[in-house]
């Protein structure tokens, strides 16, 4: 029962925040003899298995992570500079222990995925056989569940958890609260820009999501708040301001 990762997608569709809480590591390390029964190819400066292997052990799509315990850097080369492809074609280096696994996504890939979710959400409400359908709220796959909360201002909070997780609504609402407290009330934050994870707020508060709130009081708070509430219906504006005043007082 765990949360894998959190993504926040802005109103215009770009990803503005990503946090990986508990990403399960899929790695297998085995000793291989020459010649390798797997076919490896260089893609995006990484060595990827394109053919071979069994379903439970090393399979197609996995990346070569380390050789004999030494991690592989971009290139693909080892830390001491030796070219990995040459290393693997040289029979003298075998038997060697190779570790394969699913490589972490780069920030660019995560931004790409986060932005890809936005049109899928919109099309889901278009192809609906019932009128007035919302977009995608939950996606269930075999080994994970994706939950999405779309706020009234169009910001989407996406949570990827394992299938047995309960209480997602509470977590999503809490993340929304933290977002509105730490991001929107930050006077230096520009709307729909990526949230900087070096600022103390989001990256520290999201994991400890039940820590008490410390309000950042600033001269510009009211102007930021009005800018945010302009997007919400007028009847809720007063409720929102009243709530903030309650917290401040």
């Amino acid at each position: 029962m765990s949360i894998h990762s959190i993504y926040i997608v802005s109103k215009s569709g770009g990803m503005i925040f990503n946090y990986d809480h508990n990403y399960p590591k899929v790695e297998t390390e085995r000793t291989f003899n020459f010649p390798l029964e797997l076919k490896l190819e260089v893609r995006n400066k990484k060595l990827i298995v394109v053919f071979g292997g069994q379903k439970d052990a090393v399979c197609a799509g996995q990346t070569l992570l380390s050789i004999n315990g030494k991690p592989i850097c971009e290139g693909p080369i080892l830390e001491d500079g030796t070219n990995v492809v040459e290393f693997l074609t040289n029979e003298a280096n075998f038997p060697t222990s190779l570790k394969f696994g699913k490589s972490r996504m780069s920030t660019n890939e995560k931004m790409f995925l986060g932005s890809m979710f936005y049109p899928l959400y919109a099309i889901a409400s278009q192809i609906s056989p019932e009128p007035h359908s919302s977009g995608i709220q939950i996606i269930e796959a075999e080994n994970f569940k994706l939950h999405c909360l779309q706020t009234l201002t169009g910001v989407k909070f996406i949570l990827i958890t394992d299938p047995k997780f309960v209480g997602v609504d509470i977590v999503l609402r809490r993340v929304y609260e933290i977002y509105s407290d730490y991001v929107l009330k930050n006077p230096f934050y520009a709307l729909e820009m990526p949230i900087s994870s070096t600022s103390r707020s989001m990256s520290q508060c999201v994991p400890g999501s039940f820590v008490s709130i410390q309000i950042v009081v600033s001269v510009k708070i009211t102007s930021i708040l009005f800018r945010e509430v302009m997007n919400i219906r007028v009847s809720q504006t007063f409720g929102c301001i009243a709530k903030t005043f309650d917290i401040l007082i």
Partner: protein
Amino acid sequence: MTIYNLYMFDKTGSLVYYGEWVRKKPATMSKEEEGKLVYGMIFSLRSFLLKISPTDIQDNSFCYRTSKYKLNYYESPTGLKLVMNTDLNSSPKDLLKSIYAQIYVEYVAKNPLSLPGEYINSELFAQKLNQLVSMSPIYSQRNL
């Protein structure tokens, strides 16, 4: 417990069959355009899920829920894609598998006159499909 509609796509993406039982919102575009939209959407959604998944996906089906309906997707090993929209409480994974195994394989794949990629015009197929769907526990009296 209702079944709204069913789309079937072959591995190249052309709409092979569309079956409709309940449709409250009228279609805003032609059947072909809607088929292309749905196919594009499930194709992108599938590659999105493969990338974002923390471990490798072995199963070839998934589903998503909105506030009003649930879309269930099943892909056969030969690349035939079945997309079924149902209400929020149904779980028609077995129904989709039996549609493929008992109806498609029997009445389309084994039909010597059917060409791959062509729309299924066979009345026998439509009749058997309606029979199977109406016998399933997910299908409610309201659909009749």
